[in-house]
C-alpha cells in the first residue's frame, strides 16, 4: 500500500494532481464535450505522450531531444501500416491493377507488397512493433551518441537531423510509404469500424488510460534510485561517472523508454485520427513537443499534459483566425516561458496553487453557509 502511495502517486501532492488530471480527462471532458471535440482532445492527448517522454528525457535527464517526432511517427506508421493492409483487402481494391496492396503502391506501379510490409498483417506483430521498433531505433542512436559522449546541443542537432532524414525518406519513397500524403483511408481494426463515433469514444478512453499508465510508470522510474541518478547526471555528469556508473547506459535507457512512450502516442494518434503522415515526424512537431513540455513544466509529468492541452487549444483557436501569427505567438510564448517561468505551469501551480485551493475552500464554505440546510437535504432527497 505504501509502495503504491509513495512510488506511483508520489505522495499526497502527487496523488491529488493525478486524481484531478484523471477526473478531467476521464469524466469532465467526456461529459461536457461533443463527440467531435472529444476526438480533438483525444488527438491532443496523443501528443502528451511525447511531452511526458520529454519530461523524463529533458527535464530529469538533461537530454534535449529535438526528434521525438521520429518515435511518435514510427509508432504511428506501424499502426497505420496494419490498418492500411486491412483496408486493402483484395475485395476492397478489386479495381486496382494489383488488388490486395495499398492504393498508393498501385498508383506507383508497385505490383507486390514490399517485404517489410508483410508482417504488419498481424495485429500482435504491429503492437510489438509499435513498442519495440522505436525503442530499438532509439537504442542505436543512443548507443552511437552517448557511448561517444555526444551530448547537449550536438545531440539535439543530431536528433533534429535524423527527424529530417526520416521525413525526406518517407516523402521520397512514395510507393512504399504513401509519401507526403501519408497513409490515409484507414477504416477498420480487425473488422471494427474505427471511423464511427462509438469507436472514437472508446479510443479516447483507451488513450486516456494508457496516458495515465505511462505517467505512473514514469513516476516509478523517477522515484527509484534510477531517477535520482538521472538528475545527478543532468547536474554533474562527471561526478556520477566517478561514482562508478556507466553513465551512457542510463542515458540510453531513458532515451529508449522515452521513444517507446512517444510511439504509443503515435499509434493512438493513428487510431483516433484515422491517418498518419510525415508532417508528424519532422522538425516542427518535434519542437512543438518540446514546447508542450516546457510550457507544462519540464519537471512535471502531469504538467506536460496540461501544457500540451493548453498549447493545442490555443493553436486551434488562433490558427483558425490568424494562421500566420500562430508560429510567432508560440515562439514568443516559448521564449517567455523559458525566461520567466522555467518551471512552466507546474511551477506556477506550486507557487500560487495553494492560494487558489485556499480561496476555493473559502468560497465553498461560504456558499454552503448561504444555502439553507433544508435545501441541501432536498438535493440529497432528489438524488436518492
Amino acid at each position: 500500500m505504501s509502495f503504491v502511495y509513495e512510488k506511483l502517486m508520489g505522495g499526497k501532492k502527487g496523488l491529488i494532481g493525478f486524481i484531478i488530471l484523471a477526473a478531467l480527462i476521464l469524466v469532465i471532458f467526456p461529459l461536457f464535450l461533443d463527440s467531435f471535440r472529444l476526438n480533438l482532445v483525444g488527438k491532443y492527448l496523443t501528443y502528451a505522450f511525447a511531452a511526458v517522454s520529454l519530461v523524463l528525457l529533458w527535464g530529469y535527464g538533461g537530454i534535449l531531444s529535438l526528434g521525438q517526432g521520429i518515435f511518435f511517427g514510427l509508432g504511428g506508421y506501424a499502426m497505420a501500416m496494419f490498418l492500411k493492409l486491412e483496408a486493402s483487402s483484395p475485395e476492397n481494391t478489386a479495381i486496382q491493377s494489383t488488388p490486395g496492396i495499398p492504393d498508393f503502391m498501385d498508383w506507383n506501379q508497385i505490383t507486390e507488397l514490399p517485404w517489410f510490409w508483410e508482417p504488419f498483417t498481424s495485429f500482435t506483430f504491429t503492437v510489438l512493433a509499435v513498442l519495440i521498433i522505436p525503442a530499438a531505433f532509439a537504442y542505436l542512436i543512443g548507443a552511437a551518441m552517448f557511448k561517444r559522449r555526444v551530448g547537449g546541443v550536438y545531440f539535439a542537432i543530431i536528433t533534429q537531423v535524423i527527424a529530417v532524414i526520416l521525413t525526406v525518406l518517407i516523402v521520397g519513397q512514395q510507393g512504399l510509404t504513401g509519401g507526403i500524403n501519408g497513409i490515409t483511408d484507414l477504416r477498420t481494426l480487425n473488422g471494427w469500424d474505427i471511423t464511427s463515433d462509438s469507436a472514437k469514444n472508446i479510443f479516447y478512453f483507451v488513450n486516456c488510460i494508457l496516458l495515465l499508465a505511462v505517467i505512473l510508470a514514469s513516476r516509478v522510474i523517477l522515484t527509484s534510485k534510477f531517477g535520482r541518478i538521472l538528475l545527478a547526471v543532468r547536474d554533474k555528469e562527471d561526478r556520477v561517472r566517478f561514482s562508478g556508473y556507466d553513465v551512457a547506459n542510463f542515458k540510453i535507457f531513458v532515451f529508449c523508454f522515452a521513444a517507446m512512450i512517444s510511439a504509443i502516442g503515435g499509434a493512438m494518434f493513428t487510431l483516433q485520427v484515422g491517418f498518419m503522415s510525415p508532417s508528424f515526424v519532422g522538425i516542427v512537431p518535434s519542437i512543438e513537443m518540446v514546447i508542450f513540455a516546457a510550457v507544462g513544466g519540464r519537471m512535471s509529468l502531469i504538467g506536460a499534459v496540461y501544457g500540451t492541452l493548453l498549447i493545442n487549444f490555443g493553436k486551434t483557436t488562433f490558427s483558425e483566425s490568424f494562421p500566420e501569427m500562430w508560429l510567432f505567438l508560440i515562439g514568443g510564448l516559448f521564449i517567455a516561458v523559458v525566461m520567466l517561468f522555467p518551471n512552466g505551469l507546474a511551477g506556477l501551480w506550486d507557487d500560487y496553487g495553494h492560494h487558489i485551493t485556499h480561496k476555493l475552500r473559502f468560497i465553498t464554505k461560504g456558499v454552503s453557509k448561504l444555502i439553507p440546510q433544508s435545501m441541501l437535504r432536498k438535493v440529497e432527497d432528489t438524488r436518492s
Binding site: A232, V240, R241
Partner: protein
C-alpha cells in the same frame, strides 16, 4: 612473469607522461603509495597535481607509462571500472548534486544498484540507511540529511563529497584541495577526519595550506613542472634547497 613486477604498493606509477599538444603536464613521473599511507602532493599552480589525479582516475589518458593499483593496470580502463576497482576521487571544486538532499547524494554514491536495472530495483532498506547514517555522522552532516546539498556551506559541500567517496569504501582515496575555502575550525575538523579515514586505506591529498599539510601528511611530495622535485617527510622537504628555491621561496 607478473610475479617479478608485483609489489606491495597500493599505487605504483612508473614513467608516467602526458603531453597536451607537446606540453608535458606530467613528465616521466615515478610515484609509489604504501598501504595506510597518507601522502600529500604540493607544488605551485600549474605544477600538474590535478593532472596526476586525472590520469589515475581515467579522466585523462596517459601518453605513456603505467599506473598500477593493487597490481592491476589502470591505464586503459574506463572511469567507472577504475572506481569499481576501488579508487575514489574528490574534485578540486566541490562536485556534489546540488538538487538532491544530503541523504540522496550519499544514496546515489552507495556502491550497489550501479547498473540500469539494479538502480530501478534498488531499495532504500535498513542496511543502506544505516550505512548512510554512519557516513553522515563521520562527515558531521548527520543533522542535515534532508537538506538540499546546494544549501550547504562550502566546507560542508567538501565534506559531503568526501562522504560520497567514503560510502564506497575505496582502497585509494584521492582528494584535490579538500580544505580550500574552509574556515580555520573547519580545517581542524577536516584534518581530524582525514586522520581517521586514512586508517585501513591509502590517501593521496593535494593541498596548498602548509599548516594543514604538516598536520596530516605522513609523506610529502613536491611537484614542479610535471616532475618530482623532492619527496620525504615534511621536514626534509621543507629544508630541501631546491624546494625552497622554486616553491617555498615564493
Amino acid at each position: 612473469m607478473n610475479m617479478l613486477t608485483n609489489t606491495d604498493f597500493t599505487l605504483s606509477i612508473e614513467d608516467l607522461t602526458v603531453s597536451f599538444d607537446g606540453f608535458k603536464a606530467v613528465d616521466n613521473l615515478n610515484f609509489y603509495l604504501d598501504k595506510n599511507e597518507l601522502h600529500v602532493v604540493i607544488g605551485p599552480n600549474g605544477a600538474g597535481k590535478t593532472t596526476v589525479l586525472d590520469l589515475i582516475c581515467g579522466k585523462t589518458k596517459a601518453t605513456s607509462g603505467s599506473i598500477k593499483f593493487l597490481n592491476h593496470e589502470l591505464t586503459g580502463l574506463s572511469e567507472h571500472a577504475i572506481v569499481r576497482a576501488g579508487v575514489g576521487r574528490k574534485f578540486q571544486t566541490p562536485s556534489i548534486y546540488e538538487n538532491l538532499t544530503v541523504l540522496e547524494n550519499l544514496e546515489v554514491s552507495y556502491p550497489y544498484g550501479r547498473g540500469v536495472f539494479g538502480s530501478l530495483m534498488f531499495k532504500r532498506n535498513e542496511k543502506v540507511l544505516n550505512k548512510i547514517n554512519e557516513i553522515a555522522k563521520e562527515i558531521m552532516l548527520d543533522h542535515a540529511l534532508d537538506t538540499e546539498a546546494g544549501l550547504l556551506s562550502h566546507g560542508q559541500k567538501q565534506w559531503l563529497e568526501i562522504g560520497m567517496l567514503l560510502i564506497q569504501d575505496p582502497q585509494l582515496l584521492m582528494l584535490d584541495e579538500p580544505v580550500a575555502g574552509m574556515s580555520v575550525k573547519e580545517r581542524e575538523q577536516t584534518a581530524e577526519l582525514l586522520n581517521k579515514i586514512s586508517q585501513g586505506r591509502s590517501v593521496l591529498v593535494i593541498e596548498h595550506d602548509m599548516e594543514f599539510v604538516a598536520r596530516i601528511a605522513h609523506k610529502v611530495t613536491v611537484l614542479h613542472q610535471g616532475k618530482i622535485l623532492a619527496t620525504g617527510d615534511m621536514e626534509t622537504v621543507q629544508n630541501d634547497p631546491k624546494v625552497i628555491e622554486v616553491y617555498l621561496g615564493h
